[in-house]
């Protein structure tokens, strides 16, 4: 300990590493490269991780979409090939029977999966847009970004089947003048006047949908198109800790029992499980993180071994000097400490420079990918990982320093003095 804080100790160390600059630099580069790779890999994998998170941030990560198809097996007296329709009350049944479901929202659409959209007219302007009949809960599953002053569909809209709509950005541009406030304005959809209550910013959350979509209350949709109790698909969000794959199975099982479908009929109901896909991507990102950790640590290890190697040579070169020190009264412990401190100091110095360079490169990559589609956001290396890496380096530096240190004290001082 005394040695650690003595100015002279550090002078000894600087003296010896400064004397052989080339050797020192080459040694340092070994470890520097190791920690640099480690930091860049760890940061980049974190960046990918964040990038994926960002891509999914507008939709509940454990959500799924399910829809009805037609049966492929005869069951309970029904023949095969019977067309199925989801009913609005199925949503209540599902919610009651499956406790893992947090939100469930039936949806009806027009012009999304084929077929014409809704003809929309305002003054002399007209176009057709895809139309969605929504419950307010949909906003809790797939985030709806509504521009200022506007709002999303609410419970009163549903109860009273109000003729209100939320329009897309493109719809606003095409139906309204640039300086016009669309909120409170009216547009004619399928020959019925709707009041615009909000404009949504389009966010890609599902494979379908675009920036022209018009959202109206589910109950209003039902009246316009006479859909009765039918629903085209359900959007389901499970609780965060639920196993979304299991939820999908449960949902299908319940639907099969309600609609009298053979329990083994795989084709009766379709589902798109975002949670499962998300989990797969997260698993992939975790794999990358793990791999980068292993590769980084291995590189650091290689660098530290390099330092040990160089120090071993250095000790051989300095045999005479170490002999002098011991003749003058340096105990084996003090000689050992000197060599180990040198090793640790070189390792740490290399480590710190490597971390700084790594951080700089991460920052550069971040700046380059800022406005691109590439899933790469905020590449950071958690501080505990950095400190952990430094600790590992100090420990390894000490351990590897032990070898040359032991070599240094294993030579008798008289033999060391004879060495010229």
């Amino acid at each position: 300990m005394r040695l650690l804080f003595d100015k002279n100790t550090w002078q000894e160390i600087f003296g010896s590493i400064g004397k052989n600059r080339t050797r020192t630099i080459i040694t340092v580069i070994g470890v520097l490269w190791g920690i640099f790779i480690y930091i860049v890999l760890a940061g980049a994998s974190k960046g990918l991780d964040n990038g994926f998170e960002r891509n999914f941030e507008s939709v509940a990560k454990n959500s799924l979409w399910c829809w009805a198809q037609s049966t492929s097996m005869p069951y309970a007296g029904y023949k095969t090939g019977r067309g199925l329709r989801l009913k609005v009350e199925d949503a209540t049944t599902l919610r009651n029977r499956i406790p893992e479901i947090q939100y469930i929202a039936p949806v009806n659409t027009k012009g999304v999966f084929g077929g014409a959209g809704a003809l929309t007219v305002r003054g002399l302007k007209s176009n057709t847009y895809a139309m969605y009949g929504y419950y307010p809960d949909i906003a809790k599953i797939a985030t709806q970004k509504i521009f200022d002053n506007g709002r999303f569909i609410n419970d009163q809209d549903i109860e009273q089947a109000r003729k209100v709509c939320v329009i897309g950005e493109r719809t606003q541009q095409e139906m309204f003048e640039e300086d016009e406030d669309p909120i409170g304005g009216y547009i004619r959809i399928e020959n019925i006047y709707f009041q615009v209550v909000g404009v949504h910013k389009f966010v890609q959350t599902t494979p379908f949908g675009n920036d022209g979509d018009i959202f109206i209350p589910f109950t209003t949709f039902k009246k316009i198109y006479n859909t009765g109790e039918n629903a085209q698909f359900f959007t389901v969000a499970a609780y965060d800790d639920a196993d979304v794959v299991q939820v999908e199975k449960d949902v299908k099982a319940v639907l099969k029992s309600v609609h009298k479908v053979h329990p083994d009929d795989e084709r009766a109901f379709g589902a798109f499980n975002l949670g499962e896909i998300f989990n797969r991507i997260i698993g992939f990102a975790k794999g990358i993180t793990f791999l980068s950790l292993i590769v980084g640590l291995a590189t650091i290890l290689a660098g530290v071994i390099g330092i040990g190697n160089i120090l071993l040579i250095s000790v051989k070169e300095r045999t005479n000097e170490l002999g002098i020190r011991r003749a003058l009264g340096a105990t084996p412990g003090e000689v050992r400490t000197l060599i180990i401190l040198e090793s640790v100091f070189l390792t740490l110095m290399a480590g710190v420079i490597g971390i700084v360079l790594g951080a700089a490169v991460l920052n550069l990559i971040n700046n380059l990918t800022q406005d691109t589609e590439f899933p790469y956001t905020n590449p950071t290396v958690p501080i505990p990982l950095v400190i952990g890496a430094l600790l590992i380096m100090v420990v390894l530096g000490t351990l590897i320093g032990l070898i040359p240190a032991q070599r240094a004290v294993s030579i008798k001082p008289i033999d060391a003095l004879r060495e010229e």
Binding site: D6, E321, G323, A327, L328, G329, A330, K412, L417
Partner: protein, 234 residues
């Protein structure tokens, strides 16, 4: 100051042992200036190494200032060397990347003396050997005689009980040798005990007593009239 009795030392050279010291009995009183003479292979360096605790005897007793030196481990030997002994070597053995001052201060560092005191003391001893102006020079910038004087200052700086000099003039020309011996005599005049190993007759005669070694035994131990080195240096 030094008492040795029946000292034996042999080296293992492959399969056969080389018996270097074959029972040395020898004592040095405080303030003596003793030359140990002998041809190469006579065991004089081995004797000095054992006295300097750089090597251990196989057999025999060694008392330094009344204290028995035995069962030394490396750490203990290092501490004793640091406290009780000063070394002067033929090849100076200065550390080449340290200045004269730092070289002289180094033994004090191992005595855990603080930096300021170390430098003060080192400077004082450099002044005594006449190299105060050279304190910030590296060994490579000094002449042989200057290097040896730095080494002498380094040996003196801990105020050891005994100074051990191994062929201290071996690498110096005769004029410089006499200068260095003059310095040794001056130090001895102040009451320091000094042992000089040499094979040069004139150097030996600048001491007060000469011990002749041959084939590992003392063949002659005589008091001589000291020749002052100053007589040569004119």
């Amino acid at each position: 100051m030094i008492e040795i009795k029946n000292l034996h030392k042999s080296y293992q050279m492959g399969s056969n042992a080389l018996h270097v010291l074959k029972g040395i009995d020898f004592s040095v009183k405080e303030g003596e200036l003793v030359a140990i003479m002998g041809s190469s292979g006579s065991g004089k360096s081995t004797l000095l190494n054992i006295l300097g605790m750089l090597d251990v005897a196989d057999e025999g007793e060694y008392l330094l200032d009344g204290m028995p030196i035995k069962n030394l481990n490396e750490t203990k030997a290092a501490n004793y060397r640091n406290k009780f002994l000063g070394f002067i070597f033929q090849s100076f053995n200065l550390i080449n990347y340290k200045t004269a001052l730092e070289n002289v201060a180094l033994p004090l560092y191992y005595q855990r003396i603080n930096r300021k005191k170390r430098q003060e003391k080192a400077l004082k001893y450099l002044e005594q050997v006449g190299l105060k102006e050279w304190s910030h020079h590296l060994p490579s910038e000094l002449s042989g005689g200057q290097k040896q004087r730095v080494a002498i200052a380094r040996a003196m700086v801990t105020e050891p009980k005994v100074l051990l000099a191994d062929e201290l003039t071996g690498a110096l020309d005769s004029t410089t040798s006499y200068e260095v011996m003059g310095l040794i005599q001056k130090i001895n005049d102040k009451g320091n005990t000094i042992l000089v190993v040499t094979h040069e007759d004139d150097i030996a005669h600048m001491c007060k007593r000469i011990v002749h070694l041959r084939d590992g035994v003392i063949v002659k131990d005589e008091k001589v009239k000291q020749v002052r080195a100053a007589e040569y240096v004119q």
